[in-house]
Subunit: 294 residues, 4 copies
């Protein structure tokens, strides 16, 4: 007999921009906020009785109102997400609230060689991500992250010695181009003193580790980067990395009488390798629902 | 101390088109295949020893080769995915293989009023999705699905009687437009006789249930649709639906001296409500890793 | 000395959905309307004096209001675009108005085997496009079109006998797969009796011509299709076609001991050929600003 | 009678990455190259006689070969585009060649606080664009540009005193947020000494002018920015700017008992204003086909 399984609902992609005008120069925070609530909502599914349902319209209003009321917390998505998640778990029917935020970084523009106090340009190099999960029994998990961070090494990457089967045609190489678009999420077992400082520190550790690593496989680079992040952020309990291998294929120029000593590459779209993995501290309990899924 | 957690890797988005020329009219199958393998791959992560690693290049080659060798199975993504998943679990280091396929439907074009035997047009109304998971101990789960199916009702949808808090401003309504872009995945507890027939049946049941349901909330519609699918496909053990509420907002024309009796709507982009939930048979064990995640 | 050149401004992407409830079954029209005005707007550019500027906010309001007031005309984008363009050319500063509309087709859903009077699904196979240009001296041009129409032939396409230079490596072929995503725009030298009938007729002629043509080059197919459209729609003065050659590359399976008799193809993303061209009646004057540009 | 009108064809989106290894630190150039040829190609359209057609496959090969052969010129898209365009106009049937290039900027990553010689991250803040047009009679036009450059001002923008008609509801304002995503293209009447220096200079002038301008309308800002660019680059003959007004709407928080003194904004997706215009030197001839169209 068909029965209701897990459900959740909420408002997705509330695009809120907060300006801090109380200081000059101004500061801005640019967030895309999605909220998912779960709990005792069987009635609306089974009978259409909505008496326990907080409208998704109210969820959007709450995000906007908190953008005004939460003050400086709005400047750090982890703090903003926590304030929201804590609020929603107090709604009667809600047992778990999950707040996901994409934050778009901006840099100050220059005018006549000086940073301008009110003008900005979007720094398109990456998106900062946050997932806060809170339960009505007081549980809470905060995950920070980055998405869309494209990095590349022109040398210092090898790949050989792999398993060969009937369908293997790849030639081993001791010098290839390595490029990936990093998506990473890290769970804070302990809170850092400052969320924005922490994000900068992790981003620096991650990119420095990528740059400096002599890679024998993208898998090895993933582990190396993960260890570097956990070492740089002692409160971080686990990092999960998703590294698409953005293949740069050496173009065969021999039909035109030309050699190609690692100079001309085709940046291929699809298919791509996809290497995913976690590095975690071995002294911690399971992170529960920290990493988003249902 | 940092240790390696769960890992997986593979080739994503192998775009293979199979033509069946042995019959006239021709038939085509258009798949986007992604493979993720997990198992005993710690060496490549920890030391760069790749001796157990099947290259992602070989994974792509395997997909292409099977598109030739698997014959008619290629015409049903569930069958194609199973053949691939079973093959990959036989690779020594692999304990679990997951094959995800997006399949793009095509319809035959007409020429001079007759179906043409070799000409097609892509039916952009939805994408068919498949997730097959297999383990090296013989376990297997097959999930079919649909994505990008946009449906709309001009009437027959209400929403009122909801919980009101400080941030609630939505007016209750007994007649609204309801639109959503259906993503659904359903797990086959038992195999159907024909995968393509089964997909057509489920799609028909799903859209018929959406069309005929007088909705008191999108949540109620979700449950109604889920029950209809489980009833239409007796072998289906669980369906998971993700229903973004694509808001169509009645435009206020009163500043121009005009009324708007449910005629002119703004199709808003963001934010949107997002209603998700499962309907499952209550006589079955847990579907394990059937629904994709890590 | 820097001087102001051509300018234009307007509101882009007004997403208006019109429901016709006066009949049962209901009908819907789903438009994405963009308006660009040009004329005597130097003051706002040079001094910030906006006294001649109709706000883009008012342009959006006008689109919405006309969606109520224009009645049945809203059901045909060409008629809707004309009503809007004519209105805007009457604004004092405006000398030319251009209205571009993307229209999304919907089909009626079935419930219990019957067409449902209020339920629809979006037909994702193509977008209908319209460009209306009007000038304040009474000039007017109407262009209809289609975008995103993906078509494919599994056989009946050759390509050989081409120019060979130092950089040519392509092998000639007498049987290849041919696929393209049609963008077409056609200018109506004379108005058809019914815009929606006309669009159906052209779409039918275009796809039938593609299906039935034995192709020696995509260029030849372009011309053949263009002639077919002009023949089917006697009032059509010119059609412009943009045909990306979506390459389907035969996969070399010989490393795995397999042949590939035209069965397994890689659907490549980039690069792609791009074939563009016009077919026009030779007895007509120049279509002026009919085809959008600045 | 239907006759052939204007035609053009070529290869679009050749994704070539060039590594300069002859120096340490390495440098990279990341281009997306599209080529369109026009000329005497009626035969292939009318009869399928391809004897004058350079294959699009050969066009792609040529781009790749030139990426090896053209040396340092590959590092500046304007120089690379010119070398390619000049080559293609020498193909017998070709009378005009147009080469468009999107170039993706990269910055050097740091490792242990020092710039790394072989590791890079993509600077996602903008794309550099180039359009080179050459004719077989020796004519040539070079246009540089930028796309995807998102800029914002939290204050220093007014909009009032506009024309009011029946459909106008916008309230005048003396302090609004102004945001746009700049697309700009500028034609070089005279060549600069160094293309890369020139691009940096223009980008600096453009963003500095945007930051420093007290705006009475986005139209006025467009003109101000255009004049600044022409002043900074004395060889620039014309700049064309496309400035979507990315509306940031002040959220009404009064239903929740909150004021909103310019702090909380909704970043709206659609519709958006679109302001376009040119600023040009008044002492120059028409730029002919410099700005891409057909």
């Amino acid at each position: 007999m068909p029965v209701l399984g897990h459900t959740q609902y909420g408002k997705a992609e509330v695009r809120v921009v907060r300006v801090f005008r109380d200081t000059d120069p101004h500061r801005i925070a640019d967030h895309n906020v999605s909220v998912a609530l779960s709990g005792d909502f069987a009635d609306t599914h089974l009978t259409g009785d909505n008496s326990g349902v907080l409208t998704t319209d109210a969820i959007r209003n709450t995000v906007n109102a908190f953008a005004r009321e939460a003050g400086d917390a709005v400047g750090a998505p982890e703090a903003f997400g926590r304030a929201l998640a804590r609020h929603f778990t107090a709604v009667p029917q809600v047992s778990r609230a999950r707040v996901r935020i994409e934050t778009y970084p901006w840099r100050r523009l220059e005018h006549d060689g000086q940073p301008h106090p009110h003008a900005f340009t979007r720094d398109g190099g990456h998106t900062r991500t946050t997932t806060v999960t809170a339960t009505d029994d007081g549980g809470g998990w905060t995950v920070s992250g980055v998405a869309g961070l494209v990095v590349l090494k022109t040398t210092g990457s090898e790949f050989h010695g792999f398993h060969v089967d009937r369908y293997t045609t790849l030639a081993p190489t001791t010098d290839r181009m390595l490029a990936t678009e990093v998506s990473a999420q890290w769970w804070h077992a302990d809170d850092p003193a400052d969320w924005n400082d922490s994000h900068r520190t992790v981003l620096g550790a991650l990119t420095s580790a990528f740059a400096g690593h002599h890679s024998l496989s993208l898998q090895q680079t993933l582990h190396h980067v993960g260890v570097a992040v956990l070492t740089a952020g002692p409160g971080i309990g686990e990092i999960r990395l998703s590294l698409p291998n953005k293949h740069h294929l050496l173009v065969d120029l021999s039909p035109f009488g030309l050699d190609n000593p690692g100079e001309v590459f085709h940046a291929d779209d699809r298919p791509y390798g996809l290497i995913e993995g976690a590095v975690r501290r071995d002294d911690l309990p399971d992170p529960g629902p920290a990493f988003a899924g249902w």
